[in-house]
Protein backbone atom coordinates (compact mmCIF):
# COMPACT_ATOMS: atom_id res chain seq x y z
CA UNK A 1 0.00 0.00 0.00
CA UNK A 2 1.68 3.28 -1.06
CA UNK A 3 0.19 5.27 1.81
CA UNK A 4 0.07 5.09 5.60
CA UNK A 5 -2.19 6.78 8.11
CA UNK A 6 -0.02 8.53 10.69
CA UNK A 7 -0.76 9.60 14.24
CA UNK A 8 -1.77 13.18 14.92
CA UNK A 9 -3.22 14.38 18.25
CA UNK A 10 -6.62 15.48 17.00
CA UNK A 11 -6.48 14.94 13.28
CA UNK A 12 -5.24 12.37 10.79
CA UNK A 13 -2.14 12.48 8.60
CA UNK A 14 -1.48 10.58 5.39
CA UNK A 15 2.06 9.74 4.29
CA UNK A 16 2.30 8.51 0.69
CA UNK A 17 5.04 7.42 -1.68
CA UNK A 18 5.05 6.52 -5.35
CA UNK A 19 7.40 6.32 -8.29
CA UNK A 20 5.57 9.14 -10.08
CA UNK A 21 4.01 12.44 -9.08
CA UNK A 22 0.71 11.24 -10.60
CA UNK A 23 0.85 8.18 -8.39
CA UNK A 24 1.65 10.06 -5.20
CA UNK A 25 -1.32 12.40 -5.74
CA UNK A 26 -3.63 9.40 -6.20
CA UNK A 27 -2.11 7.66 -3.18
CA UNK A 28 -2.78 10.64 -0.89
CA UNK A 29 -6.35 10.66 -2.21
CA UNK A 30 -6.65 6.96 -1.42
CA UNK A 31 -5.25 7.74 2.04
CA UNK A 32 -7.97 10.36 2.47
CA UNK A 33 -10.55 7.67 1.67
CA UNK A 34 -8.92 5.26 4.13
CA UNK A 35 -8.96 7.96 6.83
CA UNK A 36 -12.72 8.14 6.30
CA UNK A 37 -13.55 4.45 6.00
CA UNK A 38 -11.59 1.37 6.99
CA UNK A 39 -13.65 -1.07 4.96
CA UNK A 40 -14.44 0.12 1.43
CA UNK A 41 -16.56 -2.29 -0.66
CA UNK A 42 -15.11 -3.62 -3.91
CA UNK A 43 -16.68 -2.48 -7.22
CA UNK A 44 -18.89 -5.59 -7.44
CA UNK A 45 -20.30 -5.16 -3.94
CA UNK A 46 -22.27 -1.95 -4.56
CA UNK A 47 -23.17 0.49 -7.33
CA UNK A 48 -20.22 2.84 -7.55
CA UNK A 49 -19.66 4.76 -10.76
CA UNK A 50 -16.51 6.62 -11.61
CA UNK A 51 -16.57 10.41 -11.92
CA UNK A 52 -14.01 12.91 -13.16
CA UNK A 53 -12.69 16.21 -11.94
CA UNK A 54 -10.17 18.76 -13.13
CA UNK A 55 -8.16 21.20 -11.04
CA UNK A 56 -5.81 24.06 -11.85
CA UNK A 57 -3.51 25.85 -9.40
CA UNK A 58 -0.46 28.08 -9.26
CA UNK A 59 1.96 25.51 -7.82
CA UNK A 60 2.31 21.76 -7.46
CA UNK A 61 1.62 21.97 -3.72
CA UNK A 62 -1.44 24.17 -4.24
CA UNK A 63 -2.62 21.69 -6.87
CA UNK A 64 -2.46 18.87 -4.31
CA UNK A 65 -4.34 21.01 -1.76
CA UNK A 66 -7.07 21.96 -4.26
CA UNK A 67 -7.36 18.39 -5.53
CA UNK A 68 -7.95 17.00 -2.03
CA UNK A 69 -10.30 19.89 -1.16
CA UNK A 70 -12.30 19.17 -4.32
CA UNK A 71 -12.55 15.46 -3.46
CA UNK A 72 -14.02 16.45 -0.08
CA UNK A 73 -16.43 18.82 -1.84
CA UNK A 74 -17.46 16.10 -4.32
CA UNK A 75 -17.98 13.71 -1.41
CA UNK A 76 -20.49 16.07 0.17
CA UNK A 77 -22.43 17.07 -2.94
CA UNK A 78 -22.46 13.63 -4.60
CA UNK A 79 -22.80 11.83 -1.22
CA UNK A 80 -20.16 9.32 -2.27
CA UNK A 81 -16.74 8.46 -0.91
CA UNK A 82 -14.13 8.89 -3.69
CA UNK A 83 -11.94 5.76 -3.80
CA UNK A 84 -9.62 4.04 -6.31
CA UNK A 85 -8.28 7.43 -7.30
CA UNK A 86 -6.37 8.14 -10.50
CA UNK A 87 -4.59 11.39 -11.26
CA UNK A 88 -2.67 12.87 -14.16
CA UNK A 89 -0.69 16.09 -13.71
CA UNK A 90 0.38 18.48 -16.38
CA UNK A 91 3.14 21.00 -15.75
CA UNK A 92 2.52 24.67 -16.51
CA UNK A 93 2.34 25.68 -20.12
CA UNK A 94 4.73 28.44 -21.10
CA UNK A 95 2.33 30.15 -23.50
CA UNK A 96 -1.36 30.81 -23.92
CA UNK A 97 -4.14 31.88 -21.55
CA UNK A 98 -3.44 29.09 -19.06
CA UNK A 99 0.29 29.65 -18.81
CA UNK A 100 1.81 29.22 -15.35
CA UNK A 101 -0.96 27.01 -14.03
CA UNK A 102 -0.53 23.40 -12.99
CA UNK A 103 -3.33 21.13 -14.22
CA UNK A 104 -4.74 17.90 -12.91
CA UNK A 105 -7.19 15.50 -14.51
CA UNK A 106 -8.46 12.99 -11.99
CA UNK A 107 -11.12 10.36 -11.55
CA UNK A 108 -12.46 8.34 -8.66
CA UNK A 109 -14.97 5.60 -7.97
CA UNK A 110 -17.78 7.05 -5.90
CA UNK A 111 -18.97 4.64 -3.20
CA UNK A 112 -22.39 5.73 -1.90
CA UNK A 113 -22.06 6.93 1.69
CA UNK A 114 -25.19 5.02 2.61
CA UNK A 115 -23.35 1.77 1.75
CA UNK A 116 -20.53 2.34 4.27
CA UNK A 117 -19.72 3.39 7.83
CA UNK A 118 -17.59 6.45 7.24
CA UNK A 119 -16.11 9.16 9.37
CA UNK A 120 -16.17 12.77 8.21
CA UNK A 121 -12.86 14.35 7.27
CA UNK A 122 -13.55 18.07 7.43
CA UNK A 123 -10.79 19.57 5.34
CA UNK A 124 -7.28 19.32 3.96
CA UNK A 125 -4.67 21.47 5.71
CA UNK A 126 -1.32 22.93 4.69
CA UNK A 127 0.10 22.16 8.11
CA UNK A 128 3.33 20.13 7.76
CA UNK A 129 2.44 19.44 4.12
CA UNK A 130 5.31 17.90 2.18
CA UNK A 131 5.48 17.07 -1.52
CA UNK A 132 8.92 16.27 -2.81
CA UNK A 133 10.92 14.13 -5.20
CA UNK A 134 13.33 11.76 -3.50
CA UNK A 135 15.85 9.21 -4.76
CA UNK A 136 13.13 6.56 -4.48
CA UNK A 137 10.44 8.58 -6.27
CA UNK A 138 7.88 10.96 -4.80
CA UNK A 139 6.69 11.39 -1.24
CA UNK A 140 3.83 13.42 0.22
CA UNK A 141 2.63 14.11 3.75
CA UNK A 142 -0.75 15.75 4.37
CA UNK A 143 -2.64 16.46 7.61
CA UNK A 144 -6.43 16.40 7.40
CA UNK A 145 -8.75 18.10 9.88
CA UNK A 146 -11.13 15.54 11.36
Amino acid sequence: MPFELRDHTADVAVAATDGSVDGVFASVADGLAAASCADVPDPGECDSDRFSLTVAAESREALLYDYLADLIYERDVRTVLPVDNEASIEEPRTEGPEADAWHLDASARGVPLEAIDAREVKAVTYSEMALEETLQGWRAYVVFDV
Binding site: L5, R6, D7, H8, T9, A10, D11, V12, S36, A38, E58, A62, Y65, D66, A69, I72, Y73, R75, D76, V77, T79, L81, P112, L113, E114, D117, A118, R119, E120, K122, A123, V124, T125, Y126, S127, E128, M129, V143, D145, V146
Partner: protein
Protein backbone atom coordinates in the same frame (compact mmCIF):
# COMPACT_ATOMS: atom_id res chain seq x y z
CA UNK B 1 13.07 31.02 38.46
CA UNK B 2 11.24 27.79 37.73
CA UNK B 3 11.46 26.72 34.10
CA UNK B 4 10.09 23.88 32.01
CA UNK B 5 11.90 22.60 28.92
CA UNK B 6 10.23 20.72 26.10
CA UNK B 7 11.48 20.06 22.57
CA UNK B 8 13.95 22.94 22.68
CA UNK B 9 11.40 25.42 24.03
CA UNK B 10 11.87 26.86 27.51
CA UNK B 11 8.92 28.15 29.49
CA UNK B 12 9.31 30.33 32.54
CA UNK B 13 6.87 30.03 35.40
CA UNK B 14 5.28 33.47 35.89
CA UNK B 15 3.07 32.31 38.76
CA UNK B 16 0.94 29.30 39.63
CA UNK B 17 -0.58 27.90 36.38
CA UNK B 18 0.95 30.61 34.16
CA UNK B 19 3.94 29.67 31.98
CA UNK B 20 5.56 32.05 29.51
CA UNK B 21 7.65 31.53 26.43
CA UNK B 22 9.65 34.78 26.42
CA UNK B 23 9.69 36.71 23.17
CA UNK B 24 12.75 35.93 21.05
CA UNK B 25 13.90 37.50 17.81
CA UNK B 26 11.51 35.39 15.74
CA UNK B 27 8.40 35.95 17.86
CA UNK B 28 6.14 38.96 17.55
CA UNK B 29 5.06 38.75 21.19
CA UNK B 30 5.52 36.44 24.18
CA UNK B 31 3.32 33.36 24.49
CA UNK B 32 1.66 32.00 27.57
CA UNK B 33 0.39 28.56 28.50
CA UNK B 34 -2.20 28.41 31.27
CA UNK B 35 -1.80 25.01 32.84
CA UNK B 36 -0.92 23.01 35.90
CA UNK B 37 2.31 21.01 35.67
CA UNK B 38 0.33 17.86 34.90
CA UNK B 39 -1.53 19.54 32.03
CA UNK B 40 1.65 21.22 30.80
CA UNK B 41 3.31 17.82 30.43
CA UNK B 42 0.49 16.71 28.15
CA UNK B 43 0.44 19.98 26.23
CA UNK B 44 4.21 19.79 25.67
CA UNK B 45 3.97 16.25 24.34
CA UNK B 46 3.21 17.26 20.73
CA UNK B 47 3.78 20.37 18.57
CA UNK B 48 1.41 22.62 20.57
CA UNK B 49 4.17 24.83 21.98
CA UNK B 50 5.81 25.32 18.58
CA UNK B 51 2.43 26.18 17.05
CA UNK B 52 1.83 28.67 19.86
CA UNK B 53 5.22 30.29 19.19
CA UNK B 54 4.36 30.43 15.49
CA UNK B 55 1.04 32.13 16.26
CA UNK B 56 2.89 35.11 17.79
CA UNK B 57 4.29 35.84 14.33
CA UNK B 58 0.88 36.88 13.02
CA UNK B 59 1.13 40.65 12.53
CA UNK B 60 -0.49 42.69 15.28
CA UNK B 61 -0.63 40.12 18.11
CA UNK B 62 -1.18 42.19 21.26
CA UNK B 63 0.09 41.34 24.76
CA UNK B 64 0.68 37.62 24.21
CA UNK B 65 -0.64 34.60 22.37
CA UNK B 66 -2.25 32.16 24.77
CA UNK B 67 -2.85 28.45 25.12
CA UNK B 68 -5.78 27.43 27.33
CA UNK B 69 -5.46 24.52 29.84
CA UNK B 70 -7.03 22.03 27.36
CA UNK B 71 -4.73 23.01 24.48
CA UNK B 72 -3.28 20.55 22.02
CA UNK B 73 -1.71 20.44 18.58
CA UNK B 74 -3.90 21.56 15.72
CA UNK B 75 -2.96 22.77 12.24
CA UNK B 76 -1.18 26.13 12.04
CA UNK B 77 -2.69 27.61 15.21
CA UNK B 78 -3.01 25.30 18.22
CA UNK B 79 -6.37 24.10 19.48
CA UNK B 80 -7.00 25.97 22.72
CA UNK B 81 -5.27 29.00 21.20
CA UNK B 82 -6.32 32.61 21.79
CA UNK B 83 -4.82 35.68 20.13
CA UNK B 84 -5.98 39.29 20.30
CA UNK B 85 -4.83 40.85 17.05
CA UNK B 86 -5.05 44.56 16.32
CA UNK B 87 -8.06 45.17 14.06
CA UNK B 88 -6.46 48.29 12.53
CA UNK B 89 -2.85 47.33 11.98
CA UNK B 90 -2.89 43.54 12.39
CA UNK B 91 -4.62 40.80 10.47
CA UNK B 92 -7.32 38.16 10.52
CA UNK B 93 -6.43 34.49 9.98
CA UNK B 94 -8.96 31.85 8.90
CA UNK B 95 -6.61 29.12 10.14
CA UNK B 96 -6.62 30.69 13.60
CA UNK B 97 -10.39 30.27 13.65
CA UNK B 98 -10.37 26.77 12.25
CA UNK B 99 -12.21 24.96 9.49
CA UNK B 100 -15.25 24.31 11.66
CA UNK B 101 -16.33 27.93 12.06
CA UNK B 102 -18.53 28.36 15.15
CA UNK B 103 -18.04 24.85 16.29
CA UNK B 104 -19.69 25.29 19.65
CA UNK B 105 -21.95 23.99 22.34
CA UNK B 106 -25.39 24.73 23.65
CA UNK B 107 -27.17 23.51 26.72
CA UNK B 108 -30.92 23.01 26.95
CA UNK B 109 -32.52 22.81 30.39
CA UNK B 110 -35.46 20.62 31.32
CA UNK B 111 -37.63 20.37 34.41
CA UNK B 112 -37.11 16.59 34.44
CA UNK B 113 -35.08 14.98 37.20
CA UNK B 114 -32.76 12.00 36.83
CA UNK B 115 -35.41 9.87 38.48
CA UNK B 116 -37.89 10.85 35.74
CA UNK B 117 -35.48 9.62 33.06
CA UNK B 118 -34.30 6.41 34.72
CA UNK B 119 -35.83 3.45 32.93
CA UNK B 120 -36.32 5.53 29.75
CA UNK B 121 -32.64 5.79 28.79
CA UNK B 122 -32.68 3.18 26.02
CA UNK B 123 -35.88 4.54 24.51
CA UNK B 124 -34.52 8.08 24.72
CA UNK B 125 -31.20 7.26 23.09
CA UNK B 126 -32.97 5.41 20.25
CA UNK B 127 -35.48 8.23 19.74
CA UNK B 128 -32.74 10.86 19.66
CA UNK B 129 -30.55 8.78 17.35
CA UNK B 130 -33.46 8.41 14.91
CA UNK B 131 -34.43 12.09 15.15
CA UNK B 132 -31.01 13.74 14.82
CA UNK B 133 -29.11 13.23 11.55
CA UNK B 134 -25.51 12.24 12.24
CA UNK B 135 -22.46 10.75 10.58
CA UNK B 136 -21.13 11.26 7.08
CA UNK B 137 -23.86 11.59 4.46
CA UNK B 138 -26.62 11.43 7.05
CA UNK B 139 -28.44 14.47 5.62
CA UNK B 140 -29.97 17.15 7.79
CA UNK B 141 -33.16 18.06 9.62
CA UNK B 142 -33.72 20.36 6.66
CA UNK B 143 -32.57 19.41 3.17
CA UNK B 144 -33.19 22.58 1.28
CA UNK B 145 -32.19 24.93 -1.55
CA UNK B 146 -29.52 27.60 -1.90
CA UNK B 147 -32.06 30.40 -1.45
CA UNK B 148 -32.95 29.14 2.02
CA UNK B 149 -29.28 28.64 2.87
CA UNK B 150 -28.66 32.28 1.94
CA UNK B 151 -31.46 33.41 4.26
CA UNK B 152 -29.94 31.31 7.06
CA UNK B 153 -26.50 32.81 6.38
CA UNK B 154 -27.82 36.36 6.56
CA UNK B 155 -30.26 36.06 9.45
CA UNK B 156 -29.14 33.17 11.63
CA UNK B 157 -31.52 32.05 14.37
CA UNK B 158 -33.94 34.82 13.48
CA UNK B 159 -34.60 32.85 10.29
CA UNK B 160 -35.25 29.75 12.41
CA UNK B 161 -37.68 31.71 14.59
CA UNK B 162 -39.66 32.87 11.58
CA UNK B 163 -39.66 29.33 10.14
CA UNK B 164 -41.07 27.91 13.39
CA UNK B 165 -37.91 26.17 14.66
CA UNK B 166 -37.02 28.66 17.40
CA UNK B 167 -38.65 30.97 19.92
CA UNK B 168 -37.86 34.52 21.00
CA UNK B 169 -36.38 33.02 24.17
CA UNK B 170 -33.99 30.91 22.09
CA UNK B 171 -32.66 34.08 20.47
CA UNK B 172 -32.31 35.85 23.80
CA UNK B 173 -30.19 33.01 25.24
CA UNK B 174 -27.79 32.60 22.32
CA UNK B 175 -24.45 34.39 21.96
CA UNK B 176 -25.11 37.51 19.84
CA UNK B 177 -28.78 36.51 19.82
CA UNK B 178 -27.89 33.94 17.18
CA UNK B 179 -27.06 36.46 14.48
CA UNK B 180 -23.83 38.07 13.37
CA UNK B 181 -24.93 41.33 11.81
CA UNK B 182 -21.96 41.63 9.45
CA UNK B 183 -22.85 38.28 7.83
CA UNK B 184 -22.99 38.41 4.05
CA UNK B 185 -24.19 35.43 2.02
CA UNK B 186 -22.52 36.89 -1.07
CA UNK B 187 -19.13 36.43 0.56
CA UNK B 188 -19.80 32.69 0.79
CA UNK B 189 -18.98 30.61 -2.30
CA UNK B 190 -21.47 28.58 -4.29
CA UNK B 191 -19.45 25.49 -3.35
CA UNK B 192 -19.97 26.20 0.35
CA UNK B 193 -23.70 26.72 -0.15
CA UNK B 194 -23.92 23.49 -2.16
CA UNK B 195 -22.30 21.61 0.73
CA UNK B 196 -24.52 23.27 3.30
CA UNK B 197 -27.91 22.82 1.74
CA UNK B 198 -28.25 19.13 2.63
CA UNK B 199 -26.58 19.31 6.06
CA UNK B 200 -28.63 21.89 7.94
CA UNK B 201 -29.49 20.31 11.29
CA UNK B 202 -26.89 17.57 11.54
CA UNK B 203 -24.25 16.55 14.08
CA UNK B 204 -21.58 15.31 11.68
CA UNK B 205 -19.03 12.94 13.19
CA UNK B 206 -15.70 13.00 15.02
CA UNK B 207 -16.00 14.54 18.47
CA UNK B 208 -19.47 15.99 17.86
CA UNK B 209 -22.31 14.65 19.92
CA UNK B 210 -25.61 15.18 21.65
CA UNK B 211 -25.66 14.18 25.30
CA UNK B 212 -28.43 13.99 27.87
CA UNK B 213 -26.87 14.80 31.24
CA UNK B 214 -27.84 15.10 34.87
CA UNK B 215 -26.65 17.90 37.11
CA UNK B 216 -24.73 16.17 39.89
CA UNK B 217 -23.22 19.15 41.70
CA UNK B 218 -24.17 22.77 42.06
CA UNK B 219 -21.01 24.63 42.98
CA UNK B 220 -22.20 28.27 42.97
CA UNK B 221 -25.79 28.36 44.03
CA UNK B 222 -26.55 31.98 43.24
CA UNK B 223 -25.22 31.73 39.68
CA UNK B 224 -26.83 28.32 39.16
CA UNK B 225 -30.15 29.88 40.15
CA UNK B 226 -29.67 32.58 37.53
CA UNK B 227 -28.89 29.88 34.96
CA UNK B 228 -31.90 27.81 36.08
CA UNK B 229 -29.77 24.83 37.12
CA UNK B 230 -30.43 22.66 40.15
CA UNK B 231 -29.10 19.33 41.40
CA UNK B 232 -30.51 16.23 39.73
CA UNK B 233 -31.93 18.24 36.85
CA UNK B 234 -31.71 16.79 33.35
CA UNK B 235 -30.05 18.95 30.69
CA UNK B 236 -29.11 18.34 27.05
CA UNK B 237 -25.73 19.34 25.62
CA UNK B 238 -25.31 19.70 21.84
CA UNK B 239 -21.82 19.98 20.32
CA UNK B 240 -21.38 20.59 16.57
CA UNK B 241 -20.51 23.33 14.09
CA UNK B 242 -21.07 24.77 10.64
CA UNK B 243 -20.67 21.46 8.80
CA UNK B 244 -19.33 21.37 5.22
CA UNK B 245 -20.39 24.95 4.60
CA UNK B 246 -18.04 26.32 7.25
CA UNK B 247 -15.24 23.96 6.24
CA UNK B 248 -15.52 25.20 2.65
CA UNK B 249 -15.51 28.88 3.71
CA UNK B 250 -12.20 28.35 5.52
CA UNK B 251 -10.71 26.36 2.63
CA UNK B 252 -11.76 29.03 0.11
CA UNK B 253 -10.29 31.92 2.09
CA UNK B 254 -7.02 30.18 2.97
CA UNK B 255 -6.46 29.76 -0.77
CA UNK B 256 -7.64 33.24 -1.72
CA UNK B 257 -5.40 34.80 0.93
CA UNK B 258 -2.49 32.64 -0.23
CA UNK B 259 -2.91 34.01 -3.74
CA UNK B 260 -3.59 37.64 -2.77
CA UNK B 261 -1.08 38.14 0.04
CA UNK B 262 1.98 35.98 -0.71
CA UNK B 263 4.36 38.48 0.89
CA UNK B 264 2.66 38.18 4.26
CA UNK B 265 2.45 34.42 3.92
CA UNK B 266 6.19 34.22 3.20
CA UNK B 267 6.85 35.80 6.61
CA UNK B 268 4.79 33.18 8.44
CA UNK B 269 6.19 29.80 9.50
CA UNK B 270 3.08 27.82 8.56
CA UNK B 271 0.80 28.22 5.56
CA UNK B 272 -2.22 27.42 7.71
CA UNK B 273 -1.61 30.72 9.49
CA UNK B 274 -2.46 32.46 6.18
CA UNK B 275 -3.79 35.88 7.16
CA UNK B 276 -5.34 38.88 5.44
CA UNK B 277 -4.03 42.28 6.57
CA UNK B 278 -6.54 44.28 8.61
CA UNK B 279 -8.37 46.73 6.38
CA UNK B 280 -7.75 44.74 3.20
CA UNK B 281 -10.67 43.75 1.00
CA UNK B 282 -10.09 40.08 1.78
CA UNK B 283 -9.99 40.67 5.54
CA UNK B 284 -13.37 42.39 5.38
CA UNK B 285 -14.80 39.77 3.03
CA UNK B 286 -13.59 36.87 5.18
CA UNK B 287 -15.07 38.53 8.28
CA UNK B 288 -18.46 38.76 6.53
CA UNK B 289 -18.22 35.17 5.25
CA UNK B 290 -17.20 33.90 8.68
CA UNK B 291 -20.16 35.78 10.18
CA UNK B 292 -22.45 33.99 7.72
CA UNK B 293 -20.95 30.60 8.61
CA UNK B 294 -21.38 31.46 12.31
CA UNK B 295 -25.07 32.07 11.64
CA UNK B 296 -25.31 28.75 9.78
CA UNK B 297 -23.82 26.91 12.76
CA UNK B 298 -26.26 28.51 15.18
CA UNK B 299 -29.18 27.49 13.00
CA UNK B 300 -27.66 24.01 12.72
CA UNK B 301 -27.69 23.65 16.52
CA UNK B 302 -31.16 25.24 16.67
CA UNK B 303 -32.64 22.67 14.28
CA UNK B 304 -31.10 19.89 16.35
CA UNK B 305 -32.67 21.50 19.42
CA UNK B 306 -36.03 21.51 17.64
CA UNK B 307 -35.76 17.77 16.93
CA UNK B 308 -34.50 17.10 20.46
CA UNK B 309 -37.58 18.77 21.90
CA UNK B 310 -39.77 16.60 19.66
CA UNK B 311 -37.92 13.45 20.76
CA UNK B 312 -38.45 14.31 24.43
CA UNK B 313 -42.14 14.96 23.70
CA UNK B 314 -42.41 11.42 22.27
CA UNK B 315 -40.63 9.71 25.14
CA UNK B 316 -42.15 11.67 28.02
CA UNK B 317 -45.59 12.22 26.46
CA UNK B 318 -45.67 15.93 27.19
CA UNK B 319 -45.08 19.06 25.15
CA UNK B 320 -41.58 20.52 25.27
CA UNK B 321 -42.73 23.74 26.89
CA UNK B 322 -44.26 21.69 29.68
CA UNK B 323 -40.95 19.84 30.01
CA UNK B 324 -39.24 23.21 30.48
CA UNK B 325 -36.86 22.68 27.55
CA UNK B 326 -35.49 26.21 27.39
CA UNK B 327 -32.13 27.10 25.93
CA UNK B 328 -29.68 27.93 28.71
CA UNK B 329 -26.97 29.25 26.38
CA UNK B 330 -25.22 28.67 23.08
CA UNK B 331 -21.58 29.61 22.81
CA UNK B 332 -19.00 29.33 20.02
CA UNK B 333 -15.51 27.95 20.48
CA UNK B 334 -14.07 28.46 16.97
CA UNK B 335 -14.49 32.12 16.10
CA UNK B 336 -12.84 35.51 15.57
CA UNK B 337 -14.69 38.61 16.65
CA UNK B 338 -13.99 42.31 16.80
CA UNK B 339 -13.98 43.13 20.51
CA UNK B 340 -12.67 46.04 22.53
CA UNK B 341 -10.03 45.18 25.14
CA UNK B 342 -7.62 47.20 27.21
CA UNK B 343 -4.05 46.91 25.95
CA UNK B 344 -1.27 48.93 27.63
CA UNK B 345 -3.90 51.08 29.31
CA UNK B 346 -5.76 51.89 26.10
CA UNK B 347 -8.95 50.47 24.68
CA UNK B 348 -8.14 48.77 21.38
CA UNK B 349 -10.37 47.03 18.88
CA UNK B 350 -9.00 43.55 18.34
CA UNK B 351 -9.84 40.54 16.24
CA UNK B 352 -9.95 38.07 19.11
CA UNK B 353 -9.24 34.67 17.59
CA UNK B 354 -10.47 31.74 19.68
CA UNK B 355 -9.76 28.31 18.23
CA UNK B 356 -10.92 25.67 20.65
CA UNK B 357 -11.43 28.34 23.29
CA UNK B 358 -14.60 29.84 24.72
CA UNK B 359 -15.51 33.46 25.29
CA UNK B 360 -15.85 33.88 29.06
CA UNK B 361 -17.03 37.41 29.71
CA UNK B 362 -17.68 38.34 33.34
CA UNK B 363 -20.66 40.22 34.72
CA UNK B 364 -21.19 43.64 33.28
CA UNK B 365 -19.89 43.24 29.73
CA UNK B 366 -22.53 44.55 27.34
CA UNK B 367 -22.14 41.52 25.06
CA UNK B 368 -23.49 39.22 27.81
CA UNK B 369 -27.25 38.61 27.37
CA UNK B 370 -29.55 40.58 29.66
CA UNK B 371 -30.55 37.44 31.53
CA UNK B 372 -26.97 36.79 32.65
CA UNK B 373 -25.37 40.24 32.66
CA UNK B 374 -25.41 40.50 36.44
CA UNK B 375 -23.71 37.14 37.01
CA UNK B 376 -21.51 36.64 33.93
CA UNK B 377 -21.98 34.60 30.77
CA UNK B 378 -22.40 30.84 30.93
CA UNK B 379 -19.42 28.84 29.64
CA UNK B 380 -20.09 25.22 28.75
CA UNK B 381 -17.13 22.84 29.02
CA UNK B 382 -17.91 19.38 27.64
CA UNK B 383 -15.86 16.53 29.02
CA UNK B 384 -15.55 12.98 27.81
CA UNK B 385 -18.37 10.43 27.79
CA UNK B 386 -17.14 9.07 31.12
CA UNK B 387 -15.98 12.13 33.02
CA UNK B 388 -18.84 14.55 32.73
CA UNK B 389 -18.99 18.23 31.87
CA UNK B 390 -19.08 21.61 33.57
CA UNK B 391 -20.98 24.85 33.40
CA UNK B 392 -18.80 27.83 34.31
CA UNK B 393 -19.39 31.52 34.29
CA UNK B 394 -17.02 34.05 32.80
CA UNK B 395 -14.43 34.94 35.45
CA UNK B 396 -13.55 38.47 36.61
CA UNK B 397 -9.91 38.06 35.57
CA UNK B 398 -10.61 36.73 32.09
CA UNK B 399 -10.52 40.21 30.55
CA UNK B 400 -7.07 41.05 31.90
CA UNK B 401 -5.59 37.57 31.46
CA UNK B 402 -7.08 36.01 28.33
CA UNK B 403 -9.06 38.60 26.32
CA UNK B 404 -12.12 37.19 28.05
CA UNK B 405 -11.56 33.50 27.24
CA UNK B 406 -11.20 30.11 28.82
CA UNK B 407 -11.00 26.45 27.82
CA UNK B 408 -13.48 24.68 25.54
CA UNK B 409 -13.37 21.07 26.70
CA UNK B 410 -11.13 18.37 28.03
CA UNK B 411 -8.73 18.37 25.07
CA UNK B 412 -7.37 15.25 23.42
CA UNK B 413 -4.21 13.54 24.60
CA UNK B 414 -4.23 10.56 22.24
CA UNK B 415 -4.40 10.31 18.45
CA UNK B 416 -7.41 8.72 16.82
CA UNK B 417 -5.23 5.96 15.37
CA UNK B 418 -3.82 5.07 18.77
CA UNK B 419 -7.28 5.27 20.33
CA UNK B 420 -8.55 2.65 17.88
CA UNK B 421 -5.58 0.45 18.76
CA UNK B 422 -6.08 0.86 22.50
CA UNK B 423 -9.87 0.71 22.70
CA UNK B 424 -12.59 -1.39 21.14
CA UNK B 425 -15.86 0.51 20.57
CA UNK B 426 -18.14 -2.25 21.85
CA UNK B 427 -16.04 -2.64 25.03
CA UNK B 428 -16.20 1.10 25.70
CA UNK B 429 -19.95 1.05 25.09
CA UNK B 430 -20.45 -1.85 27.52
CA UNK B 431 -18.23 -0.28 30.15
CA UNK B 432 -20.15 2.99 29.95
CA UNK B 433 -23.45 1.15 30.16
CA UNK B 434 -22.16 -0.39 33.38
CA UNK B 435 -21.89 3.19 34.64
CA UNK B 436 -25.48 3.90 33.50
CA UNK B 437 -24.34 5.85 30.42
CA UNK B 438 -26.08 4.76 27.22
CA UNK B 439 -24.22 5.47 23.98
CA UNK B 440 -25.27 5.01 20.38
CA UNK B 441 -23.05 5.90 17.41
CA UNK B 442 -22.93 5.27 13.68
CA UNK B 443 -19.91 3.02 14.21
CA UNK B 444 -17.90 1.37 16.97
CA UNK B 445 -14.77 3.08 15.65
CA UNK B 446 -16.23 6.48 16.56
CA UNK B 447 -16.85 5.32 20.13
CA UNK B 448 -13.28 3.99 20.37
CA UNK B 449 -11.84 7.27 19.04
CA UNK B 450 -13.86 9.21 21.61
CA UNK B 451 -13.28 6.86 24.55
CA UNK B 452 -12.94 8.63 27.92
CA UNK B 453 -9.27 7.59 28.06
CA UNK B 454 -8.25 9.73 25.07
CA UNK B 455 -9.04 13.00 26.81
CA UNK B 456 -7.32 15.12 29.41
CA UNK B 457 -8.71 15.30 32.93
CA UNK B 458 -11.58 17.79 32.57
CA UNK B 459 -11.62 18.30 36.36
CA UNK B 460 -8.04 19.56 36.17
CA UNK B 461 -8.81 21.83 33.19
CA UNK B 462 -11.67 23.41 35.10
CA UNK B 463 -9.65 23.62 38.33
CA UNK B 464 -6.98 25.67 36.54
CA UNK B 465 -9.61 27.89 34.95
CA UNK B 466 -11.12 28.57 38.38
CA UNK B 467 -7.75 29.13 40.05
CA UNK B 468 -6.83 31.73 37.44
CA UNK B 469 -10.17 33.50 37.80
CA UNK B 470 -10.96 33.17 34.08
CA UNK B 471 -13.92 30.81 34.52
CA UNK B 472 -15.73 30.02 37.76
CA UNK B 473 -17.36 26.63 38.22
CA UNK B 474 -21.14 26.74 38.56
CA UNK B 475 -22.31 23.18 38.09
CA UNK B 476 -21.06 19.74 37.15
CA UNK B 477 -22.98 17.25 35.03
CA UNK B 478 -22.60 13.55 34.24
CA UNK B 479 -23.77 11.83 31.05
CA UNK B 480 -26.97 9.80 30.92
CA UNK B 481 -27.07 9.03 27.21
CA UNK B 482 -25.02 10.11 24.26
CA UNK B 483 -25.43 9.94 20.49
CA UNK B 484 -22.70 10.62 17.95
CA UNK B 485 -21.96 10.28 14.26
Amino acid sequence: MTTYDANGITLQKVREHVWEIPQDEEMGAPARVLASEALLEEIADDRTLQQLKNATRLPGVRKQALCMPDGHQGYGFPVGGVAGIDAESGCISPGAVGFDINCGVRMVRTNLTYEDVQGHERELVEELFDAIPSGLGGGGVLETDVETVEAVLERGVDWAREAGYATEADLAHCEDEGRRKEADAEAVSQKAKDRGKNQLGSLGSGNHFLEVQRVTDVLREEVADAYGLSEDEIVVLIHCGSRGLGHQVCTDYVRRIEEAHPDLLDELPDKDLAAAPAGSRLAEEYYRAMGAAINFAWVNRQLITYRTRKAFEEVFDADWEGLGMELLYDVAHNIAKKETHTVDGEDRELYVHRKGATRAFPAGRPEVPDAYREVGQPVIIPGSMGAGSYVLRGGEDSLSETFGSTAHGAGRTMSRTQAKNDFWGEDVQEELEGQQVYVKAQSGATIAEEAPGVYKDVDEVVRVSEALGIGDTVARTLPVCNIKG
